[in-house]
C-alpha cells in the first residue's frame, strides 16, 4: 500500500446477514461523514436472496473525492459471518487491517484470516442487548465511527433525521446503541484515522449512479419513460417515476421490455424525448425495437446497467460484458450510438449527452453503465450545469411535398410531429424512399443507408469521446472504459507519485469509431495496456477492429464480479517497465 493513500482515505466493510441492517449503518456513516466534510463512496455486495442473504456495505471515505475502491480494506466489522465466505474475496485485507468480530457471530472466513489481519473481539450483540430494543448495526456504526475519528455530532444528526419517522423513542434507542459502540472503541487501537478538512462548509451531493443517470436524463429533456423492472437498473426508473411529472413528463410501467422499447419509440414519434433503462437480459429483448428506432430515425435512449452475464448471470454484481451486444446486437447494418459513463458522477453527464446525441441525430443511443457505479452512492461536488438539451430538427411549416426522409448533406432530415398539417408521413421499419413510402429499390436502400450512416459518422462529438489525461509524451498509455476508469486513474496517480508517467484514455464513445481523435490521443504511445472487466476481452476486440494501436499492446482483463483495483494497475505497469 502506497503511504500517501493511507492518510487520505479509509476503507471499511460492514458485514451482516438476515436483515442485520448493515446497509443502513453504511448509509448513515456515509451521510454523517459527508456532513463532517468528507467525501466517500459506498458500494454494496449482496447475495441473490431477496431478504436475509449475506450482505456487506463497502465504504471508502477521504478528504478528497473518492472514485474507486482501494486495494485493501482497513477495517471489516461483522454483525455475523453467515454466508460471508461468498464475498470475502471481494474484501481483501492486509496485515495492518482490523477484523472486528462478535465472539458469538460464527467463524471468520478463512480467506480473511489468511491475510494476517489483527482480530478484535467485540461483544456486539451483548452490547446491543444492554439497551432495550438496541440493535447491533447501530453498535457497529458507533464503534467504526470512533475508530476512524468521526465525532458523535454528525452521527447524532443523521440518526435524528433518518429515524424521525419512527418516533423519538426509536431515535433515542439507536443513539444509545451508537454511544455504546463509541465507548467500546475507546481502548482499541485503530489502524487508520481519516484526516478531516478543516472548516469545510461546501455543499455536496450524495447520489448513486442510477439516480445520476435519471437526473442527467431529466435535465437533458427526457419527458417519457417506459419501465420494466430489472436488477441492477430499477433505481434509474424508480428515481424518474416521481420526478418526471414535476417537469411535465410521465412514466409508464410496461408489461415487458419489448413493450418498453416500443412505447418509447411511440412517445418519441409523438415528439417527447424518451428513454428506458434495463440490464443485459432486457437489452437482448429490446434489440429488434432498437433497430426500428434506427430505421425509422426515431430518437430513443436506452440506459443499460450491466451485470454479470450471459443469460441471467449474476444479476447483483458488476461486469463490462454488454459491450458486444450494444455495438453489434442489431440485425442489418444499423448505425447507432453506444456511449458509456466512466463514474457515478459521469452518469449525469453521459446520460444527458446521450439524450442530446439521440435527439440531434434522430437515432438510438445505448448508454452503458454498470452495477458497480449504478448502485454505488458517492459524495460529489455539485456538478456543472451542462448545456446539452434535447434539440430535434423539427419541421413546423411543411409544404405539400414534405419528405420526411429527405437525403440531406448532414444525413439528418427535418421531422414533423403529429398534429402538424401537411406533415403526415408513415414511419416505417421497412426500407423506404425519402417520402417514407416502402421501397425495395437498390437506390433507395443505398441512399437511406448512406444517410443514416453519414449523420452518425460525421457528427462532431468534440472532446467528449474520451477522457484523455496525463503527459502527452509518456510512452505508456492505458485504454479503458466504464467504471474501471477510476481504478485506472488512481493507479496512474500513484505511479506519477513514483515518477512514472502514464497517459489515460478512458473512452466515453464506444461506437461509432473516431479514428482521428484516437490517433491524436495515442500519438507516440509505445506500450498500451487495455483494461476491462470482461473474460473475453470485448473492449480489446472492439479497439482492434476499429483502430490502429501503435506499439506493443497488452490486455489486462478478467470477468466480474471482482473489480479491478488501482494497485493492480500499478503492478502491471511497473512489471512491464522492467521487462
Amino acid at each position: 500500500m502506497p503511504p500517501n493513500s493511507k492518510n487520505r482515505f479509509v476503507s471499511l466493510a460492514m458485514v451482516g446477514s438476515g436483515g442485520a441492517g448493515v446497509m443502513t449503518s453504511g448509509s448513515m456513516l456515509l451521510e454523517a461523514a459527508t456532513k463532517a466534510g468528507l467525501y466517500g463512496l459506498m458500494t454494496r455486495t449482496v447475495g441473490p436472496q431477496i431478504r436475509g442473504g449475506e450482505a456487506a456495505a463497502l465504504l471508502r471515505l477521504g478528504n478528497k473525492p473518492v472514485h474507486c475502491v482501494d486495494d485493501i480494506f482497513d477495517i471489516i466489522v461483522a454483525v455475523d459471518w453467515k454466508g460471508a465466505e461468498r464475498f470475502a474475496a471481494e474484501v481483501p485485507l492486509g496485515r495492518d487491517s482490523l477484523i472486528i468480530t462478535d465472539p458469538a457471530a460464527g467463524d471468520i472466513p478463512e480467506i480473511l484470516l489468511a491475510s494476517g489481519a489483527r482480530v478484535v473481539e467485540l461483544p456486539i450483540a451483548a452490547l446491543a442487548d444492554t439497551i432495550e430494543d438496541g440493535r447491533p448495526n447501530m453498535v457497529i456504526l458507533g464503534f467504526v465511527a470512533a475508530l476512524i475519528g468521526l465525532s458523535e455530532k454528525p452521527i447524532h444528526k443523521i440518526i435524528t433525521k433518518k429515524l424521525a419517522k419512527k418516533g423519538e423513542a426509536a431515535a433515542a434507542t439507536s443513539w444509545q446503541a451508537v454511544q455504546a459502540g463509541y465507548l467500546a472503541a475507546k481502548d482499541v487501537t485503530s489502524p487508520v484515522k481519516v484526516s478531516f478538512i478543516e472548516s469545510d462548509n461546501a455543499a455536496r451531493w450524495l447520489i448513486s449512479g442510477n439516480q445520476a443517470a435519471g437526473f442527467g436524463a431529466l435535465r437533458g429533456g427526457i419527458r417519457f419513460v417506459a419501465a420494466y423492472p430489472i436488477t441492477p437498473a430499477t433505481e434509474v426508473l424508480e428515481w424518474m417515476s416521481p420526478n418526471l411529472p414535476k417537469m411535465g413528463g410521465t412514466l409508464v410501467q410496461a408489461e415487458d421490455e419489448l413493450a418498453s422499447i416500443n412505447m418509447i419509440i411511440g412517445a418519441s414519434f409523438g415528439g417527447k424525448p424518451s428513454l428506458t433503462a434495463t440490464s443485459g437480459p432486457g437489452l437482448s429483448l429490446m434489440m429488434e425495437g432498437i433497430g426500428l428506432a434506427v430505421a425509422s430515425e426515431t430518437p430513443v435512449v436506452v440506459v443499460n446497467v450491466m451485470r454479470g452475464g450471459p443469460s441471467t448471470g449474476i444479476p447483483t454484481k458488476s461486469e463490462q460484458t454488454d459491450l458486444n451486444i450494444a455495438v453489434y446486437g442489431l440485425h442489418g447494418d444499423a448505425p447507432h450510438i453506444v456511449a458509456a459513463a466512466t463514474s457515478v458522477e459521469d452518469c449525469i453527464f453521459t446520460t444527458q449527452w446521450s439524450v442530446h446525441l439521440a435527439e440531434a441525430m434522430q437515432t438510438a443511443v445505448i448508454m452503458l453503465s454498470d452495477q458497480f457505479m449504478g448502485q454505488a452512492s458517492a459524495v460529489i461536488d455539485p456538478p456543472a450545469n451542462i448545456a446539452f438539451m434535447a434539440q430535434r430538427l423539427v419541421e413546423t411549416e411543411p409544404t405539400e411535398d414534405f419528405r420526411r426522409y429527405a437525403v440531406t448533406a448532414s444525413g439528418v432530415s427535418p421531422m414533423t410531429l403529429p398534429g402538424t398539417p401537411r406533415g403526415q408521413y408513415t414511419a416505417d421499419g421497412l426500407e423506404h424512399n425519402p417520402k417514407g413510402l416502402p421501397s425495395t429499390l437498390m437506390e433507395d436502400h443505398r441512399d437511406q443507408m448512406d444517410k443514416r450512416d453519414r449523420k452518425i459518422a460525421e457528427f462532431n462529438y468534440g472532446d467528449h469521446w474520451a477522457d484523455v489525461e496525463g503527459e502527452k509524451d509518456s510512452a505508456f498509455v492505458i485504454l479503458t472504459w466504464g467504471s474501471t476508469t477510476n481504478a485506472v486513474r488512481e493507479g496512474i496517480e500513484r505511479l506519477k507519485d513514483q515518477g512514472i508517467n502514464v497517459r489515460l484514455v478512458a473512452m466515453r464513445l464506444l461506437s461509432p469509431a473516431v479514428p482521428a481523435q484516437f490517433d491524436a490521443a495515442l500519438d507516440g504511445a509505445k506500450r498500451i495496456l487495455v483494461v476491462e472487466q470482461s473474460h473475453s476481452g470485448q473492449f480489446l476486440k472492439l479497439l482492434r477492429a476499429n483502430y490502429d494501436m501503435p506499439g506493443e499492446v497488452r490486455s489486462f482483463r478478467r470477468a466480474g464480479p471482482l473489480i479491478i483495483r488501482p494497485g493492480e494497475i500499478v503492478d502491471m505497469i511497473k512489471n512491464w517497465r522492467v521487462q
Binding site: 411535465g248 418519441s268 417527447k272
Partner: protein, 277 residues
C-alpha cells in the same frame, strides 16, 4: 393547428395515393374504406390522427391513410400506439393489425393494453391465417385446418379474442364484418368516441389462402340482443356465440388510463436539491 383543415373532408380525403399490396378481393380494402369513412364522420383533421400497426398484410394500413402513421415491427403495434397516446393525449390513436400479429406474437401487449385501458382504438383484421408468409395457421385458425407448416391442422383450440379482451379489461368490444362497410365505419367511429381501450374484431376474409372464407358474408349476422354494459352477461354471450355475431357486444364504464405527458413545467434546480447533503 386545425385552421388549415377544410371544413368538411370526404372519406377519400383520408386515403393516401399509395396502392395497397393486398390481393384483389382482400377484405382489408373494405376495412380501409370503413376507417376513412369513420374519420370523415367524426370530422377529424388527418394530422391529428395516428394509425399504428405491427407487421402483416393488414398492418400495411397506415401508409394507405393520409394520417400520421407508424408501421412498426411484428406484434408491437399496441406498445408503440400506447407510447404515442400517453405522450400525446391530444391525438386520436388507432392501432391496427392482424390476428397473428395481435394474438400470437403480440399477445402479451393485447392483454395489457386491454388492462391499461388507454383511450385508443384497436382494430384487428382477423382472417384466421398468416397471409404475408403465405398461409400458416394463426391463433384463431380452426384446429383441423391443413397447412404445410402444420399438416392435418394444429389440433389446438382457437384463441377467443373477444372473451380475452373482456377478461383483460377492454372498455368497448365489438365484432364486425369487413363486407359491411357502413356498419363497420359506424362501429369504428363509436369505438373512437368511447373513452378507454376499444377493441374491434373485423372478420376480413383472405381470398388467397382461405378461399373458404368467401362464405363468411352469408354466415355473419347482427347480434339479436342489445349491447350490454354488464361484463357477466357479455362473457356468457361471447362464450356461447357462433363467432359471427356482429355489433357492439360490450360497452363498459371503466376509467381510462390516467397518466400522460403534459405541458413543459418545473425547474430542474428544485429537483436537484434532493441530492444536497
Amino acid at each position: 393547428m386545425n385552421e388549415c383543415a377544410p371544413p368538411k373532408l370526404k372519406a377519400s380525403d383520408y386515403k393516401s395515393d399509395l396502392k395497397p399490396v393486398w390481393c384483389s378481393g382482400c377484405g382489408d380494402y373494405h376495412v380501409l374504406l370503413s376507417v376513412t369513412q369513420a374519420l370523415a364522420k367524426l370530422k377529424l383533421a388527418p394530422e391529428n390522427v395516428a394509425v399504428i400497426s405491427g407487421i402483416g398484410c393488414s398492418s400495411r394500413i397506415p401508409a394507405y391513410t393520409n394520417t400520421y402513421g407508424f408501421h412498426t415491427i411484428h406484434g408491437r403495434g399496441l406498445a408503440v400506439a400506447t407510447g404515442v397516446k400517453v405522450a400525446r393525449p391530444d391525438l386520436t390513436v388507432i392501432a391496427a393489425g392482424g390476428d397473428g400479429d395481435g394474438f400470437s406474437i403480440g399477445g402479451n401487449h393485447f392483454l395489457h393494453a386491454c388492462r391499461r385501458n388507454a383511450n385508443m382504438t384497436y382494430i384487428v383484421m382477423d382472417n384466421e391465417v398468416y397471409g404475408m408468409t403465405k398461409g400458416q395457421p394463426s391463433p384463431t385458425t380452426d384446429p383441423s385446418w391443413d397447412s404445410a407448416l402444420s399438416p392435418g391442422g394444429t389440433g389446438l383450440s382457437p384463441f377467443h379474442p373477444l372473451v380475452i379482451a373482456l377478461a383483460s379489461g377492454a372498455n368497448f368490444i365489438a365484432r364486425t364484418f369487413s363486407g359491411d362497410v357502413r356498419g363497420t365505419a359506424s362501429i369504428i367511429a363509436d369505438a373512437i368516441e368511447h373513452p378507454g381501450f376499444s377493441f374491434i374484431q373485423i372478420l376480413s376474409p383472405c381470398v388467397t389462402f382461405r378461399p373458404d372464407q368467401k362464405a363468411w358474408k352469408k354466415r355473419v349476422h347482427k347480434a339479436v340482443v342489445d349491447e350490454t354494459d354488464d361484463p357477466a352477461r357479455a362473457a356468457r354471450r361471447l362464450m356461447s356465440d357462433d363467432g359471427f355475431n356482429t355489433g357492439v357486444l360490450y360497452r363498459g364504464h371503466r376509467k381510462p388510463y390516467g397518466f400522460s405527458c403534459g405541458a413543459e413545467k418545473g425547474d430542474i434546480a428544485e429537483i436537484q436539491k434532493q441530492f444536497e447533503v
